[in-house]
Symmetry: C2
């Protein structure tokens, strides 16, 4: 299954609680699209949030994020890792 890193750029001031809640919202519905959100990293100062997932496609990642209320600004397939 391909892996993706999606990026949100507008979450300035995000708190631990807010990120946990957003992540839970994804987890609650991710099975609908065979997506597996693995981890999320957030920088409250810049508002940048990075989400690592496994999914059939970038579109599937975005559909889950949209339904959970926080569409990604960019989604990148990351087939190369080290």
């Amino acid at each position: 299954m391909p892996e993706f890193m999606d990026v949100h750029t507008t979450m300035k001031g995000v708190t631990s609680e807010a990120l946990a809640e957003a992540h839970q919202a994804d987890l609650a519905i991710q099975d609908d699209e065979q997506v597996n959100f693995k981890h999320a990293w957030a920088d409250p100062e810049s508002g940048m949030v990075f989400c690592l997932s496994e999914a059939p496609s970038a579109e599937a990642v975005q559909r889950i994020h949209e339904r959970a209320g926080h569409p990604a600004d960019n989604i990148y397939e990351v087939p190369i890792q080290a």
Copy 2:
């Protein structure tokens, strides 16, 4: 130790070998600054590369990346995770 996600935006066409080599170049000198590069994810189509590290500061991350020949375009501290 704080964690950082740094982003490179100009590595279009990056190969597995090239990413492995760049990552090794970081690993070889990272102890000089108490940096620990944990993982790198690359999208050869867009040229985006995401590097997760533990480090005393963003500046320490950048100094290692610069010495290894591939300065990051942005470095974000990511104190909030889920």
